[in-house]
């Protein structure tokens, strides 16, 4: 089969000794950064982006894949030992991981996380290998209206499915759209939302948004609470490996989590929050040990952590084939692509097959590196947790500013990142979800482009959005996602109330 030949070619590239070394370095640095409390994969990639400037595109992408997997695993360590998940995707891991660690079973919890990540990573990378070329082929027939509808669906689902309030989600989304629009309109050259500042003409880089919201916002949040801090790290001791009873309980959750993560990751919803929580609930429902959930059930770590890892390869499907990043992590990777003048989309598989297949091969390698390097080194990583919090958050602030400075050296950018950081702090305090803001800032400009393209083909006739079946289908799904969560509980309650009466 074609796919195998392509993949083998990718492995031939990625298995060069220097690239293997890069993958190992990436995984190590990624874990090192990801293990810091509050730092998840997206932020780790944003902060470490400057490190890749000196490499060739293939090398940079391999390091990137390594950093991603490393930081994901690092995040699992902090979730389990400190109960401070760095990103939405590891929240579910902490629910049962932290109680396990408190009960002296941190070792098995971490082993489940890393081996589950490995299993799921292989499943979902295989999924990517076979699905991506198909979607790329299909995407060649996509038109501007379809892209527009896809992005509407992405916006609606991230706002409605993530977070607790649609109003606050929408405020967050529109604020992100606003940030995305700042700068010169590329069609007419008109200034939008620049407020007379020449520095804003080029727009606000997505890296600045991510560093502001995640790094600066998170560090401010941590520092402001430090005076009243109460969280305690759990001592790590005992065995690391899983015993026979545990092995029996975790392998099914790994596989189910892998499939869930890949499937939901590749949907326009993107991200890892939905699949991880679905996986948690699924495992709880299927488990023979329901009473253990919330108190340290190993399935509750195995499933979500597998789903978390698998969702990444899923997110790469729309990113590589359609050029649509559906999560903050994907947006950073898109930025990295753009540094090397690579434009993801249906043509990517034809124009730069070497690069794509090397990237996919490096995902497999990154997963294997994770298993060989990280599991034996658990005790080393845990040492990092003993860094005093005061120095840790200060360090995050310094790295955040460094990341922005190395982008442009512009003082305006640094002021913007401070402002976004303060906004991020208050978003956290008043429970505004940040994912919609990030997605709005990334996809907003793309959405506008597709809207204008569609309307220029149809000569300002809006009916194009209601005549193409695919477009209509996507828009209907978007409407359902928006309306059903609000309506469904009421309908169900009505049905329940009707039952005893009728």
């Amino acid at each position: 089969m074609d796919v195998f030949a392509d993949l083998l070619g990718g492995f031939a590239n990625a298995l060069e000794p220097q690239y293997l070394l890069y993958a190992a370095i990436g995984v190590t640095i990624g874990t090192l950064v990801g293990v810091l409390p509050g730092i998840g994969p997206a932020l780790a990639l944003a902060l470490l982006l400057p490190l890749t400037y000196g490499f060739d595109p293939t090398g940079a992408l391999i390091i990137f894949a390594g950093i991603y997997y490393g930081s994901l695993y690092g995040g699992a360590i902090t979730s389990i030992l400190l109960n401070t998940p760095g990103e939405a995707g590891s929240v579910a891991t902490a629910i049962d991981g932290y109680p396990m660690a408190k009960a002296g079973r941190a070792g098995p919890a971490l082993a489940t996380a890393v081996m589950g990540s490995f299993t799921a990573g292989i499943i979902s990378t295989l999924g990517l290998t076979f699905l991506a070329p198909l979607v790329a082929n299909l995407a060649k027939s996509f038109q501007a209206t379809d892209y527009f509808a896809l992005m509407v669906l992405a916006f609606v689902s991230v706002t409605a499915l993530v977070g607790t309030s649609i109003i606050r989600g929408m405020v967050s989304l529109f604020a992100g759209l606003f940030v995305g629009l700042v700068g010169l309109d590329f069609l007419t050259g008109q200034q939008r939302f620049t407020f007379g500042s020449a520095q804003l003409l080029g727009g606000i880089d997505i890296i600045i948004v991510v560093i502001g919201l995640f790094a600066i916002g998170e560090a401010l949040y941590g520092l402001a609470r430090l005076q009243y801090a109460k969280e305690q790290a759990v001592e790590f001791s005992g065995r690391i490996w899983l015993n026979k009873a545990e092995r029996k309980r975790v392998w099914k959750p790994w596989i189910r989590g892998g499939f869930l993560g890949f499937f939901f990751g590749s949907m326009p919803t993107g991200g890892s929050e939905v699949p991880t929580f679905l996986s948690y609930n699924l495992e709880k429902r299927l488990s023979k040990h329901k009473e253990e959930f919330g108190k340290g059930a190993i399935e509750g770590v195995a499933g979500p952590e597998a789903a978390n890892n698998a969702s990444f390869s899923g997110v790469l499907v729309p990113l590589l084939t359609l050029g649509i990043p559906t999560s903050a992590t994907a947006a950073i990777i898109l930025s990295a692509f753009q540094i090397y003048n690579i434009q993801p989309g249906p043509q990517l598989f034809e124009n730069s097959p070497d690069l794509v297949w090397t990237l996919i091969a490096s995902l497999f390698i990154g997963n294997i590196m994770l298993l060989v390097i990280n599991l034996p080194l658990v005790k080393v990583w845990i040492k990092i947790l003993s860094i005093p919090k005061t120095l840790l958050y200060t360090g995050i602030l310094v790295f955040g500013i460094l990341g922005v400075y190395s982008l442009s050296g512009s003082i305006t950018d640094m002021m913007i990142v401070c402002a976004i950081g303060v906004a991020g702090f208050f978003m956290r305090v008043y429970d505004f979800p940040v994912a919609p803001a990030v997605l709005g800032a990334i996809l907003g400009p793309m959405m506008e482009t597709q809207l204008r393209r569609a309307l220029s083909i149809s000569q300002n006739d809006f009916s194009v959005f209601f005549t193409r079946p695919l477009t209509v289908g996507l828009l209907v799904v978007a409407l359902a996602v928006l309306v059903l969560p609000a309506v469904l509980p009421k309908l169900l309650r009505k049905a329940k109330r009707a039952e005893p009466a009728g």
Binding site: Y53, M170, V171, L223, T390, T394, V398, V429, D431, R452
Partner: protein
Amino acid sequence: MPSPDSGPSGLPDGSPAESHDDSSAGSGHASPAVIKPGAGKLGIKIAAVVILLGAAVVLFDAVRVSINGGFGPQQPGFFPMIVGIGLVGFGLAFLVRATLKPDQALFEQAAAEHTDTHWRTLWTVVVALVIYAALLDPLGYIIATTVFFVGIAWVAGSRRLIRDVIIAVLFSAGVYFGFTELLGVRLPGGLLETVL
């Protein structure tokens, strides 16, 4: 229900602090056990007002773009108009949830968050961060970062000055040389330009 007119009394970005600055700031381990039910109410209202003010500015600029470039759906002002209207609309909805139809879950969360937040630390760090960013070029990376690092660690409650200074110097020098020598990213030398 308290009327929201207390909002504009202070500076918009300074006033959330007023609602909760009564805590004994000196003692580092004063862990407030009880969540004050009133905390955060004012903050939510101020947040709503700030969102609406921001939304008004966005809408205003969108109208300006539209007047310059035309209101048609392919013109540069079309999408900004949607964004401006959306922000104002959802900003108003949030204001309603903050005042007329209070969102209980949100108020509870805000009360807990406000109780745990040490506002003086927050604003000190924000001001220091802005000054740090502004002085990075004139002072140079190593000096500015060292001073910032030690200062913030102190503000955050670290009292081991000598250790912090040593770490700060090693850290900033390490980053400086690593980035300029190994990665080819230029960082400002500043006052030390002639020495480095």
